[in-house]
Amino acid sequence: MANAFVAAFEILSFGAIIVLIVLGLGIIASMMGIFNFAQGEFVLLGAYITWLAYAKGLPIWAGMAAAPVLVGALGFVLEALIIRRFYAAPIVAMLGTYALGLIIRESVRGLIGGFYLTVPEPIGGSIDIGAMHISAWRFTIIVITLLVMAGCYLLLSRTSFGLRMRATLENPSLARASGISTPLMYGATFAFGSALAGLAGALIVPVFSLYADLGLRFLIQGFVAVMVGGVGSFIGPVAGAGVIGTLSAALPWVMAPVVADVLVFVLAIVFIKFRPQGLIAGKGV
């Protein structure tokens, strides 16, 4: 019983981490049609900023709060300078963002060297429920993920900002005719997606520690999750991330980890092949 509970918690917390990482990726892919290969490096930057704050003696919370803001700002600048040129050609966008990611990753590698740098959990210790112990920080990540998910959903579906964003992405010329500044909306969307990646990086760095290939590890899982969930809506990629995260955490409990690792990808690709529109078809929120 206790074991099953711990397993369930592990699965849930890993699922939450994947959802957190995929949120930004999914918003950019669904709303802008760009598969951002630099997203993993935005996660890495978020982690780096958090570590930097910790290394400079600032409170970790400050680093975690600064990470999404700084990464979001960087995303806004990059969109205006570079990404903007790629909207018409999805493959070129992949290559261009890959190049961007390479620059960011190697810069961070140059800054931190080939080390694994650890950042302590801001909320240490464990939560005891009877005889069972669960990590307090992982629990916090689950809570924050739920809050961020709800926040994104409300932002996109209930605010006028979200409405304008969706209008821009669904019909740019009509949006322009209605007086919405579409370039600004594209920039804001990309910045928002980047900020979410920065937040994800900041939150997971105590769990995975900081190393240059941190982002790469999650990037492909993220892409697969977006495709499984379905590009075009907000809720699709989130659902996909839930499925992929849960599967990748759950399968190793019942079979050899190597097989489980590969099986998740094979299952996902086969699923997408036969259902290209993903779990949740359609667009909007």
Binding site: R85, L102, L169
Partner: protein, 365 residues
């Protein structure tokens, strides 16, 4: 959202139509130039070939070994160029075929003591071909044509999954891969690093290059170029676009397999990175730099990227990948056809298909 994308796509298609028109006009003018006998491509190819033939005579031994590696990687780049540069299939997992062939021949050498060149190289080629047929068949064929995004992410995922599998599978040596592979043999002769190996791989590269050149200059190549420029139109002409794609993908896989088996024997070991995302993206870099859609561009790109990184690796090891990223970004933004486009005109890149044939027919009677 999807609607807006399709609008954009239609707009692009419109642009392409305009471009095509402009191209045809330019083509008419260019054809006159071609008749005047000014062709850049054969000159570039000739210069590269002569340089490659002379290289071992002037290079020190350890540089010849390095040059051999570059030639093998150029062969690998050729396979990616066929798939992306000619058919427009974005294969982010080309290393899957390169590495699996490398692992295959390494296992042949380790477990069965087979190192004969006439057995291992065909074996590697067939392994590459088989994997490419399986993956390409699955990703490209089917009732509905797959989207470019799906194909590129599917190949990427395949390569990543293979990397993970190789890392975790004890039989394949896990993280360490398979070390100290026996040298390739021909009768009693052992190919070890050095000029002999260099000329062997150069010879193979030249043969494969000529075969590819023939292929892309044929009617099949013309159909491929059409596929890259406007897939729908080619489908309307009655070509089975998906089949063409699967065929060229398999050919690319076979060449990658050949390169992978050479690489395994040259380096003497195989390791998981060889099937993984790192090598897969490396080959994309080579071809984008050199110029996709020209065979020689792939070779030149490999030589430049590997050469400069070798040259800089002593002093600027940390900075080089960053510079590489910046250069790549600049190439994508401002020189989408790669470095070769500085000397090669658009018309010659696409190639002339009809003119030559017509000339021959006119000359015949």
């Amino acid at each position: 959202m999807l609607k807006s994308m399709s609008v954009v796509r239609e707009a692009i298609a419109g642009d392409e139509a305009d471009d095509a028109m402009a191209e045809r006009v330019a083509a008419g003018q260019a054809r006159k130039q071609v008749k005047a006998g000014r062709k850049v491509l054969p000159i570039v190819e000739g210069v590269v070939l002569v340089a490659a033939l002379l290289a071992p005579l002037v290079l020190q031994d350890y540089l010849t070994v390095f040059a051999t590696r570059v030639i093998i990687l150029a062969l690998f780049a050729l396979s990616f160029d066929l798939v992306w540069g000619y058919a427009g299939i974005m294969s982010f997992g080309q290393a899957l075929f390169f590495g699996s062939a490398g692992y295959g021949v390494a296992l042949l050498a380790r477990d069965l003591d087979i190192t004969n060149i006439f057995l291992v190289l065909p074996a590697g080629t067939i392994i590459g071909l088989t994997f490419a047929l399986l993956l390409g068949g699955f990703l490209l064929l089917g009732r509905h044509p797959s989207s470019v995004i799906f194909v590129s992410l599917g190949t990427l995922t395949g390569s990543y999954a293979a990397d993970r599998l190789a890392r975790g599978w004890y039989y394949l040596g896990g993280q360490n891969g398979i070390p100290s592979i026996a040298p390739m043999t021909l009768g009693g002769y052992e190919f070890s690093e050095g000029p002999a190996f260099y000329y062997l791989v150069l010879g193979i590269l030249v043969v494969v290059y000529l075969l590819c050149r023939f292929l892309v200059r044929s009617q099949f190549g013309l159909a491929l170029a059409g596929l890259r420029e406007n897939e729908q139109r080619i489908a309307f002409f009655g070509y089975k676009a998906q089949h063409l794609k699967a065929i060229i993908f398999a050919i690319g896989g076979a060449i990658a397999g050949l390169a992978g088996s050479l690489y395994a024997f040259h380096e003497g070991f195989v390791w998981p990175n060889m099937v993984g995302v790192v090598v897969s993206t490396q080959v994309v870099l080579y071809v984008l730099f050199g110029g996709s859609g020209t065979l020689i561009g792939a070779v030149i790109g490999t030589v430049i990227v590997e050469g400069v990184s070798f040259w800089l690796s002593d002093n600027y090891r940390d900075v080089w990948p960053i510079i590489l990223g910046v250069l790549l970004l600049l190439v994508i933004l401002f020189r989408p056809l790669g470095l070769i486009s500085f000397v090669l005109g658009e018309r010659e890149r696409v190639g002339s298909f009809g003119a030559k044939a017509k000339e021959k027919r006119n000359a015949a009677p």
